[in-house]
Each structure stands twice: as structure tokens, then as C-alpha cells.
């Protein structure tokens, strides 16, 4: 059974010379390069949702983790844990979309593993991906944000909250349907473009679980600067706002899978924005705020009615309002 899976499914879709050797390890020739290495596991429910599936998520998520560190993603591993009885046609659809995503991103899936567990021991399918990329020394501090300073601008590459709402809508128990698709996407081309445009990019992070607010809070945590964000500048689709109003959710805390937060020197902000807006996944980019000298360690939101309030980290899960 597993040799059939390998030859008729995985090799068929993930086809490349490294994987085709079917050795216990892929041997990769990466000389004189600093490597970035990451891993993540995916257990999303439901496994199919508008705009993607667990497989696409697994590829994009790991590619994006490498990219926001300033790395050029090269190779991925993929591990599947399948619940006994998981339909092969569903697996094929997932694998096909993973292959397509990897191909579009110019990344090879060079090794993998599959385990089948008894019914009830996992929820349909879990996927782990790990990824290797090469990183230029000048991008060493991109993930750490050591050079962030007052005056720097904060940029996001488009609408927030799409993924979280798309997945929520696909769950049966909430009984609502939307036309929102997940924003799940590989951002390597977009990030590579802006890194080639400017050397004033101080920090990048992909905006996943916990949403925008959580990352902003992490940036200022125990730092000698603060952040001010303008609510009117934050791009959120009307449909997402509507669902959030109904359920009592805050879009600033909702997960995304194709969004990056960029902190950049103010002199290059406009240049970076022009490059972003020419990218398919950056058309709706916005400068949403800036790093400030005041209120150290805090994120302040200028609300849409001219008020001010603090933004804090997400604690626990957002739950629908009761009344």
C-alpha cells in the first residue's frame, strides 16, 4: 500500500530528481551559504475550505516562514499522518494542490513520510512540513527587528481576516456562509521584490494565528519605543467586518495565511508600497501606522471615531458573543 501511495500519488505530483531517488535522505548541494530552516505542523479543521486546503496551507506556511526571515526557500519535506479510511481522492486533491503551490513558488519537495493510524487516533489528516532556504547575511536581523526605530512605517500587504473567516464559515456549527476565500498564498516573490528594492526593511513577520495585534505587541514588548496604528488605514473587507460584527470578533486578531507585516524606514516606505502594489498579493497594501517614541512597550490604536485605545495580545481563542 505505501509503495503504491509513493509511486502513484506522491512521486506523480511531487516529481523532481531528488525525490525520485527514493533514498532515506535527500542529498542537497548548498555551498557557502547560510541556511534558514523551519518546520510547522498543520491540523486545520475543516481540511477543505474556500480558497484552499490543509495541503496548500502547509506549503505556503513553511515557505512564508522562510521568506520573512529573508531566506530564499529551496527545499521542503512533507510528513503525512492519515487516519485509517481517509479517502484517497481527498488525499490526491491535497497532494495535487501542494505540488502546484510548490511549483509556482519554485520550491522542491525532496523528502517525505506517511503514517496511517487507527480510526479516531487523528482527525482525518495532519501534515508536517519543514523547509530550508538560503539567507543573505544582510538579512540576519529581519526576524529579530533589532534595527527598528521611531519614525519607521508599518505596512501590511492587503486585507486582514480573510483566512480565519473563510475557515470559520466552512465549519458546520456556526451556520453562516460567506463568499470570503482564504488568502492562503506563498509570498516569496513579493518579499524577494521588496528586499531587492530597499535595504531599509527592519522587520518582517507573517501574520498568522493571533492576527495583526499579536505581532504588533510582540514587536514592542519590553522595548524603548511604542506603536501607533490608525484603524481607518487597516484594510479589512466589508464582508469580514460584517461577520465580525455579528459574532463579536475583532478582525485584528483573526488568522491570515498570505499576509506579511513589514516595518521599514520612512524614506523608503513609498518606494516599497509601489513595488508591493504591482504584486498580485500586494495590490491592497497599506501603511497602517508607525513606530513612535512615546508609550514604550505599548500599541495604541487611533480608532475610527478619533478615540484612542490600547491593543493587546490575543489571549485564548476568540469565541462568538453570547448575547
Amino acid at each position: 500500500m505505501s509503495s503504491e501511495l509513493i509511486s502513484k500519488l506522491f512521486l506523480k505530483h511531487f516529481n523532481n530528481p531528488h525525490l525520485a531517488e527514493l533514498t532515506d535522505s535527500a542529498q542537497l548541494d548548498i555551498r557557502n551559504s547560510k541556511l534558514a530552516y523551519t518546520t510547522d505542523s498543520y491540523v486545520v479543521d475543516p481540511i477543505f475550505f474556500p480558497g484552499g486546503n490543509i495541503g496548500k496551507l502547509a506549503i505556503c506556511g513553511t515557505i512564508n516562514d522562510l521568506c520573512v526571515s529573508g531566506a530564499r526557500p529551496l527545499y521542503l519535506s512533507v510528513g503525512f499522518i492519515l487516519e485509517e479510511g481517509f479517502p484517497i481522492k481527498d488525499l490526491e486533491e491535497i497532494v495535487r494542490s501542494m505540488a502546484l503551490e510548490a511549483q509556482n513558488a519554485g520550491v522542491e519537495i525532496v523528502c517525505g513520510d506517511t503514517k496511517v493510524v487507527n480510526r479516531g487516533k487523528c482527525d482525518k489528516i495532519f501534515i508536517n512540513t519543514s523547509g530550508i532556504g538560503v539567507i543573505d547575511n544582510k538579512h540576519n536581523d529581519l526576524n529579530r527587528g533589532k534595527n527598528i526605530q521611531p519614525g519607521d512605517k508599518i505596512i501590511v500587504n492587503g486585507y486582514l481576516g480573510d483566512h480565519g473567516i473563510a475557515v470559520l464559515g466552512a465549519r458546520e456549527e456556526l451556520n453562516f456562509k460567506t463568499l470570503i476565500d482564504s488568502d492562503c498564498a506563498s509570498l516569496n516573490s513579493l518579499i524577494s521584490d521588496i528586499l531587492n528594492t530597499s535595504n531599509q526593511i527592519r522587520f518582517m513577520r507573517d501574520i498568522t494565528r493571533g492576527g495583526l495585534s499579536t505581532i504588533l505587541c510582540e514587536i514592542v514588548d519590553e522595548k524603548e519605543f511604542g506603536i501607533e496604528i490608525n484603524e481607518l488605514a487597516i484594510p479589512v473587507r466589508d464582508e469580514v467586518k460584517g461577520v465580525c460584527e455579528l459574532l463579536g470578533f475583532d478582525p485584528l486578531y483573526i488568522a491570515n495565511e498570505g499576509k506579511v507585516l513589514i516595518v521599514a524606514g520612512s524614506e523608503d516606505a513609498d518606494k516599497i508600497m509601489s513595488v508591493l502594489k504591482r504584486q498580485p498579493y500586494g495590490i491592497h497594501s497599506e501603511i497602517i501606522g508607525e513606530i513612535v517614541e512615546d508609550h514604550h512597550g505599548k500599541v495604541i490604536l487611533n480608532t475610527e471615531i478619533g478615540g484612542r485605545r490600547i491593543i493587546d495580545k490575543l489571549t485564548g481563542e476568540q469565541l462568538p458573543r453570547i448575547c
Binding site: 475583532d250 478619533g306 478615540g307 493587546d312 469565541l319 448575547c323
Partner: protein, 359 residues
């Protein structure tokens, strides 16, 4: 009309703030009773826009916050019973009981299911005929009709494995209790969603007995500011009255069908409110003809002695006597990932709102 942007129009907001500043000459304290109002006020940053002489106090309108510890302990005891599935709204699982919480009991393997609506809970009962499904029914007049309607459906279908553990409460007695407990306020921002069910007449006794203005408010910034303006004008002119500032959702007579369901299914009883103790005729219990759905009557359980968390001042916060910032545990020990009291757990709790939005 999208009913969002229109009520957040900057020009309107500024106009209302100017009018409030012009009308308000005296110190005034207003209580927003509803947790949804507390959240909206903090979320939009309204306190940062009001003149300093206007104070907003958060009241006991958060159903999770006012649910007493014994209710949680009962739910925990029920979850230990064989073949029982506890169905609950999500917020309730994090509320600390005397020695545990539903979240901890879930981690210990007891069958506790988060549901997003009562209908989910009833469906669980239909799909699991060998199990007994107990729904933890909390909330005010906004949610009680849904519980009532579900009980009527279950009765019609003769579903015999579905139960309600009711902690439903009604608002008017709490509004009186706040004043009787010595809280000094000059008007009520009355709950919007409760009033869609009840109508506005029930606030008239507050006006007559305590000479306090009662303005029913919506949840958008201009709704809240308009309500504050109306209360300021009433106070300045000493003309307290009931006003409906949410006419697009609230009718004077309320929702007749919902009110009928409540009267059909529930009786009033004296009940315990966190922070207040017993408030007479403020709780809803199932009528005798629906007693077979009442988990309080149908299960013989031992409930541990109630123990309040040391240092927690949720009670005073719920009455508006203190703000979360005056609690020594706030932020230091008590925060959403480690809530000491219910006010920090719920999205509508004052402490949670102050924590998230900076109060």
C-alpha cells in the same frame, strides 16, 4: 445602508461630542449595564473622547460575570456523572469554580462540548440518545427566549435526554439592586439587546422610584454618544425619563413572541448574583410542567462548598463601586490566560474589556 459606517461617521461623532461638552456642566456618573456596551465603549475609545466630568461605570450586564461560583461547581459535578455531556457557550469553560473549571475538567477527560447555539446542544441530544445532554443556560432576556423555544421544541419532539441548568436572569431587579447597594449614579445607559425583547416600559419604575434617567442605547459609537447626550440633558434639566435611543431595533412593547415564550416556559425565582447576593425574583426557572428538563431536579449530585477566590473584587466591579484598575490582582495576577474571577474571562466582562483595550 450598511448599518456600520453610517453610525461611525466622524462628522456625526464630532457633532455629538460638541453637543455633550456644551450641555454638560456638572459631574455626572452614568452606568452602562450591558457588557456589550462596556466592550463597545472601550473598543471605540469613547472614554478618551468624553469631557472629564463624565464618568462611565460598568455594571452587571455580563451573563458570565454574574453567574455564581456554585453554578460552575454544579456544572462540574454534573460533568462527572456517567453518560452526561455538558453543552456550554465557550466563555463559561474558563470561569473558575471553587476548585476547578470546566476547562480543567475537559482536559481531565470529562465530556464537555462547546456549542455556538442551543440548537447545537439539542442536536447533540438527538444524535446521542444514550447520553444525557445538559445545556448550561446563562444570559438575560436576550438569550432566555431561545432557551424557552428549545425547551418547547424538545417537549414537542418528546426528547427525554436533554436538560437545562438555568442561570438565566432578568435585568430590572438588578437595576434596582445597584442603587439599593449604594452605587451613586445619575443615569442608566440601558441594555440594547435586552430591550429588543422586553421593550422599554420596564425601566419606568426606575425613573419613578429613583429619579434616574434610563436611555436605551444601541452599540455603535453614535448610538452610545447620543444616549450619553440624552442622559446629560435629562440630568442637567432634572427631567429623568425613559427614552428609546435605539428605535431601529427596539420597540416600546418589545418582541411579543419572545416575551410569550419566556412567560410560557419560565417562572421567576430569587437567585444569587455574583457581587449582589440574592436578588428577589430575578432568576428564571423552568415551570413545573417542564420540570423533566430541569437538570437541578433531575440529577442527584454532590456539589462542593463554595469558595471565593481571595482578593477578587469582581463583586464590587460588577456593582460599579470599583473599576478593574483598582483591583490589586488586575494585570499582575489576573489576566485572560489566568483569570481569577469571571469578569476577566468573558468578552463582556469589565476586567476583560479594560485589559484588552487599556481602560
Amino acid at each position: 445602508m450598511k448599518h456600520i459606517a453610517e453610525y461611525r461617521n466622524l462628522k456625526l461623532v464630532k457633532g455629538l461630542l460638541d453637543a455633550i461638552r456644551e450641555a454638560s456642566t456638572k459631574e455626572i456618573s452614568l452606568m452602562e449595564v450591558c457588557g456589550g456596551h462596556t466592550m463597545a465603549i472601550q473598543k471605540f475609545g469613547i472614554p478618551s473622547l468624553l469631557p472629564e466630568n463624565i464618568k462611565l461605570l460598568s455594571g452587571p450586564g455580563c451573563p458570565v460575570c454574574v453567574t455564581d461560583i456554585r453554578f460552575i461547581d454544579k456544572a462540574i459535578a454534573l460533568s462527572h456523572q456517567q453518560d452526561v455531556i455538558i453543552a456550554t457557550y465557550g466563555d463559561l469553560i474558563r470561569v473558575p469554580g471553587s476548585s476547578s473549571s470546566l476547562e480543567l475538567e475537559l482536559a481531565n477527560g470529562h465530556h464537555i462540548q462547546i456549542v455556538y447555539s442551543l440548537l447545537n446542544a439539542l442536536e447533540i441530544a438527538r444524535q446521542n440518545p444514550a447520553k444525557k445532554v445538559v445545556f448550561l443556560a446563562i444570559g438575560f432576556e436576550t438569550t432566555a427566549p431561545a432557551t424557552g423555544a428549545t425547551v418547547l421544541s424538545a417537549a414537542k419532539e418528546e426528547i427525554n435526554n436533554f436538560f437545562i441548568l438555568s442561570a438565566h436572569k432578568i435585568m430590572p431587579p438588578a437595576l434596582q439592586a445597584i442603587i439599593n447597594h449604594g452605587v451613586k449614579i445619575n443615569g442608566y445607559i440601558c441594555p440594547g439587546h435586552v430591550s429588543t425583547i422586553t421593550g422599554t416600559d420596564m425601566y419606568q419604575p426606575i425613573v419613578e422610584k429613583y429619579k434616574l434617567g434610563c436611555v436605551v442605547s444601541g452599540f455603535e459609537p453614535t448610538d452610545i454618544l447620543w444616549s450619553i447626550l440624552r442622559l446629560v440633558k435629562q440630568f442637567e434639566g432634572n427631567t429623568p425619563k425613559v427614552e428609546n435611543a435605539y428605535p431601529r431595533a427596539v420597540k416600546p412593547g418589545g418582541n411579543l413572541k419572545a416575551k410569550w415564550i419566556m412567560e410560557r416556559v419560565f417562572l421567576l425565582e430569587d437567585t444569587w448574583w455574583r457581587g449582589f447576593g440574592i436578588i428577589k425574583e430575578s432568576g428564571l426557572t423552568l415551570k413545573p410542567e417542564f420540570a423533566h428538563f430541569d437538570a437541578d431536579l433531575r440529577f442527584d449530585i454532590e456539589v462542593e462548598e463554595t469558595k471565593e477566590a481571595k482578593g477578587c473584587i469582581c463583586g464590587e466591579i460588577l456593582k460599579g463601586l470599583k473599576t478593574p484598575k483598582e483591583c490589586p490582582l488586575f494585570r499582575m495576577v489576573c489576566h485572560p490566560t489566568n483569570p481569577i474571577g469571571a469578569c476577566m474571562v468573558s468578552n463582556e466582562g469589565a476586567c476583560h474589556a479594560y485589559y484588552r483595550f487599556g481602560g
